[in-house]
Amino acid sequence: MPGFESESRRHGRFTRRALLLGSAQAALLGVLGHRLYDIQVTHARRYQLLADENRISTQGSAPIRGNIRDRFGIVLAQSEERLEAAVVPDLAGDVASIVSRLGKVIAITPEDRERILALAGRQSRLIPILVRSGLTWEELARISVLAPQLPGVFTQTGAVRHYFRGADIGHVVGLVGAPDQQDLSTDPSLRLPGVRIGKAGIELGMETALRGSAGEITREVDAHGRIVRDLDERPSIRGSDLVLTIDTDLQTSVLKRMAAEDFAAVVALDAQTGEVLTMASTPTYDTASVAEGINKEDWQQLVDREGDPLVNKAIRGQYPPGSTFKMVTAMAALDAGLVTHKTRFTCQGSLELSGQRFGCWKLGGHGSVRLHDALKESCDVYFYELARLCGIERIAAAARKLGFGSALECGIGGQKPGLIPDPAWKQAALNNRWYAGETLLAAIGQGYVLATPLQLAVMTARLATGRAIEPKLLRPDHGRSAAPAATLSFDAGSLELVRQGMIAAVNEGGGTASSASLPIRGAIMAGKTGTAQVSRASHGRSSASLERKLRDHSLFVGYAPASAPRYAVAAIVEHGGGGSKVAAPLVRDVMTMLLERDPLSQPAYPLDAPTAARADAAPLATKPNG
């Protein structure tokens, strides 16, 4: 039967083709299985990382900034931890109704409510909005209890920076402010809401130590960005508490005395250790009121006010040191062996150098003078002669050795370096060669020479002790060795000669600084006046007849007791006129306060008692009852 035969042939064909089909399907399933293996086993690691990136979101928590105290433990800057309530709109759903509900539990002002709703409408619904800061523990407890009825509401700890005695110490402690674009690029944790960064003073200089480090909460989120649960929490680390060397009460007294002079700066050091006891600059401004919030007009007024109240002149004011620089020239010449205590030069009121006349402040001249007299009477011509002998390089070297020409790192931010000129500097900065006359001007602290009051105080301490005293604002010296400063490579005899000159200037008849002699019986100060010419016009004219801004700066540096140096002080009164008239009496009074109060003899705030420090810090923080 042909039909049957073809039927069986068709059967065979079907079998072959069905088996072919089955094989093709098996092969394709095998390909899928291989691809599955490739994704799930061969490249599993890569996809697991991608999956984790998908689901894990990290949120930083801002650290609490360290507190700042003065030498005796007075709190100057403190971070007050505050309990805050915040709401995440995405979790809350209807923000308005949640805020209304929350308003029945804690006090929310209509302004706060308006602000929250405005923010909720404006920014991403995933960003928490601060509802209110400064919750009481009772309010916190109420929110916790009612949490199920308040979706999206959570509580956290924030911090507010408080400043104390800001008008007296604000220039030293400085201020914090919102980080700017440049700060943000250095540390991403600064993007956390509410983070403040040091903008001036210790707050700026010790930013790293004060800041602490941000914590991190690792959370699992779903595809819609909703928080599923917390995976891990690394708490933030509080910033270090700092204790300053400053004696705030002394500083207050010094500022009171300085009120007589409009724009001035005073730096007082422990001559042996370099600890800064006072760093005062007038006019002052109250950092506390600025930190509490200052309106634009008041701030602009501060910025524009004459005398730059925002500037700490002790470290940011750069002045020609005038005659206070003569000790530097003297040390340069003595140390090089170019002169001795017997070497005499004749002062006829001026000195001629390559056709130019360089005058002495005393128009009639000092006659024949030795170093002792030259320092005592501040004879300019004598130092012109020394300058001609040693040259600018030696003077510059001695100046640097005594602490000039660069910022003295001590933890405070914004310090200016001053300037010690030499031919190389002039070539680089002004593209001009050095003239011999400029050496003469430098020798008496004029011309290009610039110094800060802090540098002048350090020079004084170095001359008084013969050691490389470094200024210190922090106790214990933060990160630096506590060993006594190294001896400077100056000849002891030369140093003694200069000291004797300084003693004579204050205490011998005819000394330019006799107005600085101490009113305390038996207490002897060594010192040197300085009158820094601001304009050529002032030469030989009485300051009273000059317009204020053309008047000379009045300077004085001194240490006491002369026999066993304990305190070193530098003062500058801007446009105060002659050094002996204004700055010398100011330093006399400051030194008198120092010796009478003698802060070095009083027990300082114990550094090795952290528990005491904590307990002390407590009064500001709200604590639960019981």
Partner: protein, 384 residues
């Protein structure tokens, strides 16, 4: 005993029919369905509601239907083949006028309380109708141009109607199923090659007729990175889910990609991503193997049938299943474009499950009646 079986009528009792029913295929299908229940349980974060429970109910009801389909007389299905095909063809033609629109395409028809996509049952009906037609073609005339042309027309008309919906993916599937049946019937390779070439030629020509979203799907498939948060997002997230599962998986309910909603459509088209993430390569491979077992048992059932109709029904059902599995898995693994094809028996969805189970029932019916002979002449009588 087999020789006594009548060509036209099967007089065996219901029990005897059930006793001769295949075991492996339905058992495998039950296992695969159970995997779907477990996955749907996980989709909702460990709850039987709303998906898993309904899937169980549909499976139970579906298997009852499977058994009914399997034991009905073969004659019944032979008789139903053309009317069912014609009815669904009419429904497909009616869709543009009466259908509900979704995603810019009209696919759904509503009949009273039921709404269904005619394209789904059409796959089964096409297998049935083709098998019925080819059964009637004399063995030596299988490659006669008139028969081939008729068969191709039977395939291309519904495919064209589906393409017009427009639903390119399903149109290609329907055409592929029909051509495979034709191939297994013994039609000359050349005709089939011509058919495939013709269909392939239609695809680029139809590009302009594709909806924007369809064009985008194809383009995104070709370069998923170009659109990482749009269409490419689905592909990328599904692949991440697979890879994150690793060899052994993250454990049921613990797949972060699936549980945290990164995987899209995870209860329907992308359910395999969840399974592979939570049970790993081992789980995924086992599921693929189960599908393999189901496919080969279906083809094996076909090999043991006497009549061409029964053989073609088994192979056609197997091919339908295979194409759905391959297209779905290929899509989840990023090897094929995103087309809305669910994973048979696993994905949540009534129409697809019913169509798959109906196919399974028909294949079982063919196997139950595997010894029955059908003659071309008798067939003609039967229908006239």
């Amino acid at each position: 005993m087999t020789a006594t079986t009548s060509a036209r009528f099967d007089h065996r009792s219901l029990a005897a029919k059930l006793a001769s029913a295949p075991v492996i295929a339905p058992l495998t299908a039950v296992l695969i369905g159970a995997a779907g229940v477990a996955a749907l349980f996980s989709v909702t974060g460990g709850s039987m509601e709303p998906y898993a429970m309904r899937h169980v109910a549909r499976l139970v009801a579906g298997f009852a239907v499977v058994i009914v389909i399997a034991v009905l007389p073969l004659r019944f299905w032979l008789g139903l083949a053309y009317p069912a095909y014609a009815l669904l063809l009419a429904a497909l033609a009616a869709v543009p006028y009466f259908g509900n629109e979704a995603l810019g395409a009209q696919r759904w028809l509503t009949l009273g309380p039921l709404s269904f996509q005619p394209a789904e049952p059409m796959k089964v009906a096409l297998v049935l109708a083709l098998a019925r037609y080819l059964q009637g073609v004399p063995a030596n005339a299988m490659s006669h141009w008139a028969h081939v042309a008729t068969a191709l027309l039977m395939i291309l008309v519904p495919a064209a109607l589906i393409l017009a919906q427009p639903d390119l993916g399903t149109a290609i599937l329907v055409a592929a199923i029909g051509l495979t049946v034709l191939f297994c019937a013994g039609t000359s390779f050349w005709y089939l090659a011509a058919g495939v070439a013709g269909a392939a030629a239609v695809v680029p020509l139809s590009w302009d007729y594709l909806h924007d979203y369809q064009q985008r799907r194809v383009l995104v498939f070709l370069d998923p990175e170009a659109d990482p948060l749009g269409m490419g997002y689905q592909i990328t997230q599904a692949k991440i889910a697979l890879g994150a599962g690793g060899l052994t998986g993250r454990g049921l309910l613990h797949g972060t990609q699936s549980q945290l909603d990164f995987v899209p459509e995870k209860h329907t088209d992308f359910i395999f991503a969840l399974i592979a993430e939570e049970t790993g390569f081992i789980g995924g491979a086992i599921l693929i193997c189960l599908f393999g077992v189901l496919l080969f048992s279906l083809i094996g059932m076909g090999l043991r049938c006497r009549s061409l109709f029964c053989r073609l029904v088994c192979v056609g059902v197997a091919t339908t299943l295979f194409l759905h599995v391959t297209v779905n898995l290929g899509m989840v693994m990023g090897a094929l474009p995103v087309v809305g094809v669910p994973l048979p028996l696993v994905s949540y969805g009534g129409t697809s499950l019913l169509a798959t189970l109906a196919g399974l029932g028909l294949a079982m019916n063919a196997f139950v009646h595997r010894r029955q002979r059908l003659r071309a002449g008798e067939l003609g009588l039967l229908l006239r």
